[in-house]
Symmetry: C2
Subunit: 500 residues, 2 copies
């Protein structure tokens, strides 16, 4: 077989995998937006079948052959094929270095662990979940030895979500963050200059919220011909194919923020996906560069655009029209202040912009301690509570609002949390560069003209898909290495103006 | 390998096929209820991939081996396995007797023909479609010779949808039908006693229609924990798995009938699917006994229940509440008469209960003529128009409202139409037996107590799935062979009371 024939077969296999992933992702979307109760069991079986088939295609002996032959002659491959090859090879090796039996047992463990975690959270009892967590950590520690790593063992896990980012980098970034943010959080807690948020919790009819979500999605440049908005318990974004980037949201009639800001957050993810180079469709490069880069886009839209004063100068009247009584006595400025309220809180997903990175830092420090054997599973709840007291000045009253709050660990996702904070840093660094190149940024927002901003982000980030690695994207876009000072500066400036 | 091992592998293969079919059907459902425009092309490719995989599993060499070995020892197989085997074998043979190359060409032809038909219908120009129709017929004529048949060649096509039903049977049934219905249609056309239908076309808000559709589905016993209602261009029912029988409807704000009766029609299909024995889940027997038996259930709900006077005595007030102005001057009786208006019309899908079978009869006679080489493709439009004049007293003004109105032929579905009429005959025969065994039928409807009716139909029809053949289901349920006099009697009685 010629090199060309190998390349063709490799690319065809990627296309086939992507078709199965379409089916898989549609079933996933359906499960979260409207699969009837009695359909779930059989739906799980079908999802299991397809994901097993996808796994099989990615790890078959033939795939190994293709990867080996192509890699031997990698200099002769077109650039995109080479990147696709690197990604496929990495995934192949990651999967195949785990003995098959162990991989299967781990999959079964994960599928059980999630429901055990649910029960434990409901009962607010960490001891129910800890035997599973213990095993999940054991497996991951073994996987790390199979995969190998440089420096800290936790680096092997970070590499799953944010290739190129290491413990050394994160330690330094979080140290700087802690140094500036912890005192700022304290100053704000002590400030008498607090916003009035009482109107936030007044009744806002769901149907009006839905209309507004549609309105904002359209205004921000979400393409409804390549996506749709639905309802789910937790908002999410899923890309089913290159013309189908769906978003979901959840409505709370006693707090409009979850739908409005949740939708705009997912809108940021979706606009990323809608603007990846279509030439990559059906390959493993039609994807965000990393979890963190993806999060940078959702946070950009949610925080830098939708929590911007100019945004509400332009659109507050839409809120008033949708729920007139609620906002009768409220000004755009007061509204802006209320939706930017900052206060130490227990639940990550409900945290404000300023305290949010501290929630991530706590998880990062705990995960790092786990994977350097510095803490046992049974010590985790007390370690968790100590850190919340130290960084946020509050202690969770129970496990449900503490260590059990997030689903990630039950799914074996260790090393994932830092991406949330990295995304925030990426976003702030991108924003600083954008302000330099588009100094009319604030006016654009105030006029509801998002096209230049979207265009800038597309050219620097979206279009590349997974062609470039996360840190390269940031460096190419901004001309420098990852630098946390942009985020610190942004937060200090914004929250000083708001509170101090 | 032991017989048991063969049986197990066979059943596992059926389960695997059914999981792929779940994914396939969900993509199909999504395509018709909300796939974004730009997602369609890649979605078609994924659907194509999965259907090719399903075809491959059904026709693999290994499947042939399983079928052969098991069939040799069929006396030793459990009853359900044997029936599943018969179905799988029939499908295998039907597919494999067509040379592979020819099968592929036919698939490509079909995929093109549908869009050509759409264009031709839009332009109302049969000559655009006729070259494709010509080829589709040629292929099917060849297939018939591969498959073989007894008696008339058209029997081979009838067998695809209604196993056991032949031209001899249909000729006799339709002759009787024609004899009674054609004069009755004429008498009604001449009757001065016409219902007032003006209020039907008044504005009925879509959201109120949607609520009513939900209401009726629930009342009739549709299980929303095992299904859902969505909107699509044409109403349909699709069963994604044994706990997921979805229905769709379409709303016309200037004619509530399409949503209300369309939904109840699909409800009949769905209640059938929701009540098939769950022991058959994931096998090829988890399905209706035939197209015709399926249609008998949808027509039963649509016509015998929802077009029953008692139904509107009970529920007309709901219509009034939903659209008060529209029905201000209307009585339940006048409403009943209006939704049972009968008049000769050109479009099958809009025809009333009485004239509907004539539309089917015309298609049956034409298809039979095609497959006995009695008519050429170019003669079809004039043959069509002659028959409409002869049986319904009207002539289509153009091809779009005549021979091009239905999609079926473009999909190669010849032999399908008779099932619509057979379904109606089955339904009427079942109704007659039900009236005998549940003489309170009318009162049940008038009281909105549908449970005894549903239970009766489940025990006689639904529960069996594809375990029994269509004519056996009817015979077992009613104690006699298919007999068209029940349908004729029903129509004569109902329409005499309404019009004469």
């Amino acid at each position: 077989m010629s090199l060309l024939a190998y390349e063709e077969e490799f690319l065809e296999t990627l296309q086939k995998i992507s078709k199965y992933e379409q089916a898989y992702k549609l079933m996933y979307w359906d499960m979260r937006t409207g699969t009837p109760k009695k359909a779930r069991e059989e739906r799980f079986e079908a999802i299991g079948q397809l994901s097993a088939d996808i796994y099989q295609m990615k790890t078959s002996a033939r795939m190994n052959e293709l990867l080996t032959v192509l890699f031997e002659q990698k200099e002769r491959l077109p650039e995109d094929t080479l990147r696709a090859l690197e990604e496929a090879k990495k995934e192949y090796e990651r999967n195949k270095t785990i003995p098959e039996q162990e991989f299967k047992e781990y999959m079964i463990l994960k599928s059980k662990a999630e429901s055990v975690w649910e029960e434990a959270k409901k009962a607010s009892d960490f001891s129910l979940f800890s035997p599973y967590l213990e095993k999940l950590i054991e497996y991951n520690k073994r996987f790390i030895t199979y995969w190998g790593y440089d420096g800290h063992p936790y680096n092997a896990l970070l590499d799953l979500y944010e290739p190129g980012v290491t413990v050394d980098t994160l330690d330094q970034l979080f140290a700087e963050l802690r140094k500036s943010i912890v005192p700022l959080v304290q100053k704000i807690a002590d400030s008498p200059n607090k916003p009035d948020t009482s109107f936030v919790y007044k009744h806002f009819p769901k149907e009006r919220q839905r209309e507004l979500c549609h309105f904002f999605l359209e205004k921000l440049g979400y393409d409804f011909d390549a996506g749709r908005l639905d309802e789910s318990v937790h908002p999410f974004q899923v890309t089913i194919n290159s013309g189908d980037a769906r978003v979901t949201t959840s409505f709370n009639e006693c707090d409009f923020r979850s739908a409005i800001f949740g939708t705009i957050h997912e809108c940021g993810h979706a606009i990323y996906e809608q603007n990846i180079d279509k030439a990559l469709s059906g390959t493993n490069l039609f994807d965000g560069a990393s979890m963190g880069v993806h999060e940078s886009q959702s946070l950009f839209y949610e925080n830098f655009i939708a929590r911007h004063l100019g945004f509400w100068k332009q659109y507050f009247h839409k809120m008033k029209e949708a729920s007139p009584q609620q906002f009768e006595q409220v000004t755009a400025d007061a509204f802006y202040r209320a939706v930017n309220e900052s206060k130490p809180s227990l639940i990550r997903t409900e945290a404000d912009e300023l305290t949010y990175p501290l929630h991530i830092m706590i998880r990062y420090e705990i995960e790092k301690a786990i994977y350097s054997d510095e803490v046992s599973v049974e010590e985790l709840p007390s370690l968790w509570n100590e850190k919340y007291e130290a960084y946020l000045g509050i202690t969770p009253p129970n496990d449900a609002q503490g260590i059990l709050q997030d689903v990630h660990w039950s799914d074996g996702s260790f090393g994932y949390f830092p991406s949330y904070a990295l995304g925030y840093m990426y976003a702030a660094q991108l924003r600083a560069k954008l302000l330099e190149e588009l100094p009319e940024f604030d006016q654009f927002i105030e006029k509801g003209n998002f096209q230049p901003i979207r265009k800038w982000l597309t050219e620097r980030v979206h279009i590349h898909g997974k062609r470039k690695k996360p840190l390269d994207i940031i460096k190419n876009a901004t001309g420098e290495e990852l630098n946390i000072s942009y985020l610190i500066h942004y937060l200090e400036e914004k929250y000083t103006a708001l509170y101090l």
